[in-house]
């Protein structure tokens, strides 16, 4: 070939092999990433579109709105959340909003409580040495963290009986207490990591300036540890919002949370897919928003303790 002969600089065979390898590397990495992103996102997409489908669309397996089916408000209407039913009375919507409020109150309250108790304990454990009976700091830390191993089922039935006696069955307070307990070890885990990364010189300076130990903690340390607290809070929020097991056992009519409602609808309505899809989507929506907006904190929280 004349053009090739005119070329002075060639890519040697080794260079070309390197190129090819680079390209296959790129393609396989992006291929893997895109494939997994598809696997992660498709169920969410599928649920969202199904909530706008009508029966024949579901049967035919149509996937793309406006292309192979025309979206209808069927699912959302049955929940009372579509635009045309917004003003009307709707028992389903009232029910849904009640469950939603319960979930919100329970998860927010228990996360706040867990972050408060957990931060205090983690701070104390990272700064002072304690001795309660035979337990020293490492034993106390282990005691808190070992609660993570405790499976909920062990507490569930005794709690059921105790709550019955204490008239706490089917109350939000009962759920809040148990949820706080279940996320407390995680909060302590994250906050211990956070506090031990803050140098003690800060408090020493504050103490010299005449602050009390609690004053130093509240005014100097807490603001610095705030990102860790937010991470712990968000993680607790996610876990408690999604909790099903205790809620299913310990609540019946008043304090039911959203997951219990979703679970109970699955059985009773058969395959009225569009309304189930709308319900499931409405239940996961808050968390999707949190996940997208606060992703940084969630990752920070989960990565805590992974790297020492």
């Amino acid at each position: 070939m004349p053009t090739a002969a005119a070329q002075i600089f060639h890519d040697g065979p080794s260079d070309r092999a390197y190129r090819a390898k680079w390209w296959t590397g790129r393609i396989s990495v992006y291929g893997l990433l895109i494939l997994w992103a598809f696997i992660c996102l498709f169920p969410i997409y599928w649920t969202l579109t199904t909530s706008f489908k009508m029966a024949p669309d579901v049967m035919k397996g149509n996937m793309v709105p406006w292309v192979d089916f025309s979206p209808a408000w069927l699912g959302w209407r049955s929940l009372g959340l579509s635009p045309d039913t917004w003003g009307d009375e709707s028992t389903v919507r009232a029910e849904f909003l009640k469950r939603f409020t319960n979930s919100a109150i329970v998860s927010l309250a228990s996360s706040v409580l867990a972050v408060m108790l957990g931060s205090l304990a983690a701070y104390g454990l990272s700064r002072f040495s304690y001795k309660f009976a035979w337990m020293r700091n490492s034993d106390i830390s282990f005691f808190f963290l070992s609660q993570l191993i405790l499976p909920p089922v062990v507490l569930a039935l005794p709690m059921l009986v105790l709550y019955k006696e204490l008239a706490l069955l089917d109350t939000r307070i009962g759920l809040i207490l148990l949820y706080t307990l279940s996320v407390l070890p995680i909060v302590i885990w994250i906050m211990r990591d956070q506090f031990s990364s803050i140098p003690t010189e800060l408090e020493e300076a504050a103490l010299v300036d005449g602050l009390s130990i609690w004053g130093a903690f509240l005014t100097i340390i807490l603001p610095i540890a705030l990102p860790g607290m937010v991470a712990a809070f968000i993680l607790s929020l996610v876990l408690t919002w999604n909790e099903y097991f205790f809620a299913a056992l310990l609540t019946s009519t008043h304090a039911n949370t959203l997951p219990v409602m979703v679970a109970s609808q699955t059985g009773s309505q058969g395959i009225s897919w569009w309304s189930m899809a709308a319900l499931a989507w409405a239940a996961i929506l808050p968390l999707i928003v949190i996940g997208v907006v606060l992703e940084r904190y969630i990752i920070k929280g989960m990565a805590a303790g992974a790297v020492k």
């Binding site: 990495v29 990433l33 997994w36 992103a37 696997i39 992660c40 996102l41 169920p43 969410i44 996937m63 108790l117 304990a121 701070y123 104390g124 454990l125 700064r127 002072f128 040495s129 700091n137 490492s138 005691f143 808190f144 609660q147 191993i149 499976p151 909920p152 089922v153 062990v154 039935l157 005794p158 059921l160 009986v161 105790l162 307990l181 407390l184 031990s196 003690t200 408090e203 020493e204 103490l207 130990i213 609690w214 903690f217 099903y244 097991f245 299913a248 959203l258 997951p259 979703v262 679970a263 189930m276 499931a280 239940a283 996961i284 996940g291 969630i298 990752i299 989960m302 992974a306 790297v307």
Partner: protein, 368 residues
């Protein structure tokens, strides 16, 4: 973290008057006496000795809370500065103790009894009957065996999570998008996932996955028909929600590895594959072990998906211990037997996890 000696030295000149100390002691013991008094009178009513007109055990609960507050306050009154330090840990410790240790002791009591909540007879102590029943209960041991399989599935989850973490750690565009997308499954509630995937996408006639598998040549896809396929389906769904969790921990570990190490390996002539096995993987061992241990702990609690998708079908093949006990209670509302099963499960978990942690400790220690 050092466990001996304060990291923060506080020297305060506390002069606590004898009156203050006495007052501190008085409120602690006073509230304790009140608690014991109320509890005793409630017990007397339950045993039928004397009627006080209590409707439930709430008064005892209130007295307990009062005692807890007095205990915390009394620490400060009695010990001054030292009491204020105790105040950091004491509330959390009291909270955890009263919500785990007490119910666990109570659980031990009901584990050895026959107690049907819907029957008027109340609790009947039945000695070792529950243990004997458990010993010959094939479904319980079957559920236990299933847990072993479910835990073993973590190895596959770990491999996938590691691969994804490596891909995310590579030099890529749109990293933020991929991270958020990969994180999302973890945010979804297992109950919603059970419906979204288990009931809708895996629906045998018109679920998209069923369609896909028909396209790929599986004529009559049924994901919950045979025991092994059903088990695998549950594993896949659980993996789908929890892979992001392991992935993020591994990613954090990967980002903590100094770049120089890989560069040095490259200079020494190691290709990608060898560099991975001889540099990256050994460096990641401690993080990997932490991630796997935490994942095992979460896996042992697996229940929501099983309860909502299969309820143990077919024939208990997908049951986890938790879902089995849940159904046992739902069907017969017998708290005694269920509690015993849960207690045995707890003991097994503690033994296994302690062993695993010991093993991991030896394994993760850097070899020099």
């Amino acid at each position: 973290m050092s466990s001996s000696g304060d990291l923060l030295h506080v020297v305060t000149n506390d002069s606590i008057s004898a009156r203050r100390k006495t007052f501190g002691r008085a409120i602690i013991w006073g509230s304790a006496a009140l608690l014991i008094g109320i509890a005793a009178s409630q017990l007397a009513q339950v045993l039928g000795w004397q009627a006080f007109g209590f409707e439930n055990w709430r008064p005892t609960l209130y007295a307990y809370i009062l005692w807890a507050i007095c205990l915390c306050w009394g620490q400060v009154l009695q010990y001054g500065e030292h009491g204020k330090r105790t105040l950091f840990v004491l509330p959390a410790a009291l909270f955890v103790i009263s919500l785990t240790v007490f119910p666990l002791l109570f659980g031990l009591m009901i584990a050895f009894s026959d107690w049907n909540l819907s029957s008027p007879d109340g609790r009947q102590f039945n000695g070792w009957d529950n243990v004997r029943q458990m010993w010959v209960d094939p479904f319980y041991w079957n559920a236990m065996l299933n847990m072993v399989w479910y835990v073993l599935a973590i190895i596959v989850e770990y491999a996938i999570a590691f691969g994804l973490a490596l891909a995310l750690n590579a030099e890529i565009r749109a990293r933020k998008f991929f991270r958020v997308a990969f994180l999302l499954p973890l945010m979804l509630s297992p109950v919603a996932v059970s419906w979204m995937i288990g009931k809708s996408m895996l629906e045998a006639r018109f679920g998209p996955i069923a369609r896909l598998s028909r396209l790929l040549g599986w004529d009559e896809p049924s994901f919950f028909g045979s025991p092994w396929i059903a088990k695998a389906t549950i594993m896949v769904m659980d993996a789908w929600t929890f892979i992001p969790f392991m992935m993020i921990m591994i990613l954090a570990g990967l980002q903590a590895i100094p770049k120089e190490l890989n560069e040095a390996a490259k200079v020494d002539g190691a290709n990608g594959w060898r560099a991975f096995w001889e540099v990256t993987f050994p460096m990641m061992l401690p993080v990997s072990i932490t991630a796997i241990l935490i994942r095992i702990i979460f896996k042992l609690k697996l229940a929501d998906i099983v309860i909502n998708v299969t309820a143990g079908a077919p024939g208990g093949a997908t049951d986890t211990v938790t879902s089995f006990i849940f159904r046992e209670y739902r069907d017969r509302s017998n708290v005694g037997y269920g509690t015993l099963l849960a207690m045995v499960y707890l003991v097994i978990i503690i033994v296994v996890m302690t062993g695993l942690m010991k093993l991991a400790d030896r394994f993760a220690r850097p070899r020099t």
